[in-house]
């Protein structure tokens, strides 16, 4: 007894101190997520100062275009725009056949040309509203201040443009979706097939052990290495196939193989190990008794797998696949390496098209120094995150539901 010092109180003090440390660490982690999201929202909304290139008052004294008739409007256009441009407009639709509203829109877009000259993020817009207004009055005469959601419908359906406020992400969204569809088409059957082989067919021999170790190692290979693989094999090595030249799709701009097809195959290889590992876990969760029951009735191995094992594990396999695919949607590095086109305004029409993706646009816009590009990058991130959250949330929700059901059974 005497050898033991009464120390419980000190020990509790230390214990409580560390309890605070552990809790703080956890709070910090959660705080990071919140900060990350707030930072993006901060960039995607806020005040902008818009200035007209030519003020309406310079076109007509009253500044009110409504007072002008059709002929005067066309005159205005012809006097302010180059002849080539007028010819192009006439070619699209003769100016004389256009309605007044259409003409006024044209004047607005081409002559008055309102441009964002400065933008503020959400935090500044809320906390420093007055100084923003004051600054604009002093430094930006003639500009008017307006609250702008950079994530808006025009942004979603618009195509690429070199001016941030006019740029949209339709092309990028289409590119992302096409690539993902291709990725699933390649990776899902091969991944699930490999998992079935490893779990149901393979005996514990050198080959299967080697394949298994190999899959684990592949899942740890940095994604940029897959980009190099895709660049050398799909873009360069299989150029006739991936550019579509083999099938007579020889679009002269894409004969270099940097196409949707090459990107889809690259990402398929990237998520293949993840799909295999997830599917293996799903198959392992199928009780052995189910297989025995099927064999007992006289089913062959494949009949057993096809009619019992796969249906029973399909929900888990799908969950794992969704998680893998959502990883692929967000991948940037390998796509950059295989050479996504950073500026294309034409939507990808088939698998041999040039493409851009959402993450590529985010990367491109973020790396530009102008703050307005950061704003549209933030808006594009919001779109990407909403897409991913929907997918991940669905997967996690299904998984929890499954595990709850299994537990209650």
């Amino acid at each position: 007894m005497s050898n033991f010092k009464e120390n419980v109180e000190t020990r509790y003090k230390i214990s409580n101190l560390w309890n605070v440390v552990f809790t703080t660490a956890t709070v910090i982690s959660v705080f990071m997520l919140i900060l990350l999201l707030l930072n993006i929202i901060n960039g995607a909304f806020g005040y902008v100062a818009i200035k007209n290139t030519i003020e309406p008052t310079e076109l007509i004294n009253s500044g009110n275009l409504d007072e002008l008739n059709e002929i005067q409007l066309i005159e205005l256009l012809e006097s302010h725009l180059s002849r080539g441009l007028i010819r192009r407009f006439n070619f699209e639709k003769p100016l004389k056949e256009r309605s007044n509203t259409e003409l006024m829109n044209l004047i607005f877009e081409r002559i008055i040309e309102p441009r964002i000259v400065k933008s503020w993020n959400l935090k500044e817009s809320i906390l420093e509203k007055n100084s923003i207004l004051h600054y604009a009055e002093k430094e930006l005469p003639g500009a008017h201040i307006q609250f702008r959601a950079w994530l808006n419908s025009n942004f979603l359906i618009g195509s690429q443009a070199s001016i941030p406020e006019l740029a949209g992400i339709r092309t990028a969204i289409l590119g992302s979706l096409m690539i993902i569809l291709l990725t699933i088409t390649f990776a899902f059957p091969i991944g699930v097939g490999a998992a079935i082989y490893l779990e149901e067919y393979s005996v514990d021999n050198m080959f299967s052990r080697f394949v298994q170790v190999n899959i684990y190692n592949l899942s740890g290979v940095p994604s940029i290495i897959y980009g190099l693989l895709g660049l050398a094999v799909f873009v360069r090595g299989m150029e006739p196939l991936t550019s579509g030249a083999m099938f007579g799709y020889g679009d002269p701009t894409t004969t270099n193989g940097r196409t949707v097809l090459a990107a889809g195959m690259t990402l398929a290889l990237l998520i293949l190990p993840i799909i295999i590992i997830n599917a293996q876990e799903a198959l392992r969760a199928v009780p052995q008794t189910m297989r025995q029951a099927s064999y007992g009735i006289g089913a062959t191995k494949w009949q057993t797998i096809w009619t019992h094992v796969l249906p029973h594990s399909m929900d888990r396999i799908m969950t794992g696949t969704i998680l893998a695919v959502s990883r692929a949607i967000g991948e940037t590095a390998p796509i950059v390496v295989i050479g996504a086109s950073t500026f294309i305004s034409v939507d990808p029409s088939n698998i041999f098209s040039k493409f851009t993706t959402l993450p590529i646009q985010i990367y491109q816009w973020t790396s530009r120094p102008q703050p307005e590009f950061r704003n549209i990058a933030a808006a594009a991130i919001l779109v990407l995150l909403i897409l991913l959250l929907a997918m991940n949330g669905f997967a996690i929700f299904t998984r929890n539901k499954i595990s709850n059901n299994r537990r209650s059974n």
Binding site: N39, V211, Y216, I224, L231, I381
Partner: protein, 303 residues
């Protein structure tokens, strides 16, 4: 006649099954093809590269300037390690603490809230973290340490944000390791009059040591291979510096920048990114193998 029919029925299902088996085996084989493809491609292009550049120069020179034919990997490797170690300095302690909190302290309810949050954090694409580094972390560092000390592009910002990126990975593997320690060991500690901290810190954590080490090594491997954060925030242009507030391009950052343009094949530039890729592949492969070995050893102790 009937005999032939019986024989026909006997053979057909086998034929059918063997095609399927063959196909499934092919699927499993694809993963080996991928590995072979990676090794072959990286190896082949690297060989071409090392025909132009000596391995000694590659590994020892502190200058990477393709324009004047200087190909020393050290500046790129150095900044890769700088960002990765800064990331680990964040993710290792934080990940361990969060994992201890989740596995030893948190109630079921709190855990059910926190785990999905960490999964969300893990599911955010890395390019988004890159945006975060550039638009939040860098300005923050410049406010704290001064505009003159901290460059617009710097490895510190990239490293710190990378730490947040790998935090969920480190946390979840560490937590798995802690959870795998049998409850009986905690009971034994409490039975001897231990506080929760003493049981967690001096019994459970040491017992899960190899699992935790595996988590850290895997985290490090992820950080070394991470690309988009460094591509956006660490700066373009190799720079042999130990100052984390200076811009310095990493291995992955360089590969992305060079291949992002229209790179022409059969040039030293083209070959060089594969040589760097090969180096990256080996570093991460070795780390991953060590990590798996540790996990296996850990699993064997408690099986």
């Amino acid at each position: 006649m009937t005999e032939i029919n019986i024989a026909w029925y006997k053979i057909r299902p086998k034929y059918h099954e063997s095609i399927i088996t063959w196909f499934l085996q092919f699927c499993a084989g694809v993963s080996i093809l991928v590995t072979l493809g990676i090794v072959f491609i990286l190896g082949k292009e690297s060989l071409l590269f090392f025909r132009e550049v000596s391995i000694v120069e590659f590994l020892t020179s502190t200058k990477w300037q393709p324009l004047i034919e200087e190909f020393g990997v050290l500046p790129l490797l150095n900044s890769t390690l700088t960002t990765s170690f800064i990331a680990m300095a964040i993710a290792a302690p934080l990940g361990l603490f969060v994992a201890i909190y989740l596995s030893e302290y948190a109630s079921e309810r709190v855990r059910n809230i926190l785990k999905p949050i960490l999964e969300i954090l893990a599911g955010i694409p890395t390019v988004v973290y890159g945006y975060f580094a550039l638009t939040f972390m860098t300005p923050l560092l410049r406010i704290i340490f001064g505009q003159n000390t901290v460059d617009i592009y710097n490895t510190a910002s990239a490293g710190l944000v990378m730490g947040i990126l790998i935090l969920p990975l480190v946390t979840s593997i560490t937590e798995d390791a802690l959870k795998a320690v049998p409850y009986s060991l905690r009971e034994a500690s409490y039975g001897l009059g231990a506080t929760k901290l003493e049981a967690s810190w001096t019994v459970v954590v040491p017992a899960a040591f190899s699992g935790i080490a595996a988590a850290f090594i895997l985290g490090l491997s992820r950080a070394i291979g991470e690309t988009m954060i460094v591509a956006l925030a660490a700066g373009a242009g190799p720079n042999f510096t130990f100052n984390p507030f200076e811009a310095a391009e990493t291995l992955t950052g360089y590969i992305v920048r060079i291949s992002g343009g229209d790179i022409s094949y059969n040039t030293v530039d083209y070959n060089s990114i594969f040589a760097l890729g090969l180096l990256l592949f080996f570093i991460t492969l070795i780390l991953n193998i060590i990590s798996r070995k540790l996990v296996k050893r850990f699993q064997e102790v408690y099986d």
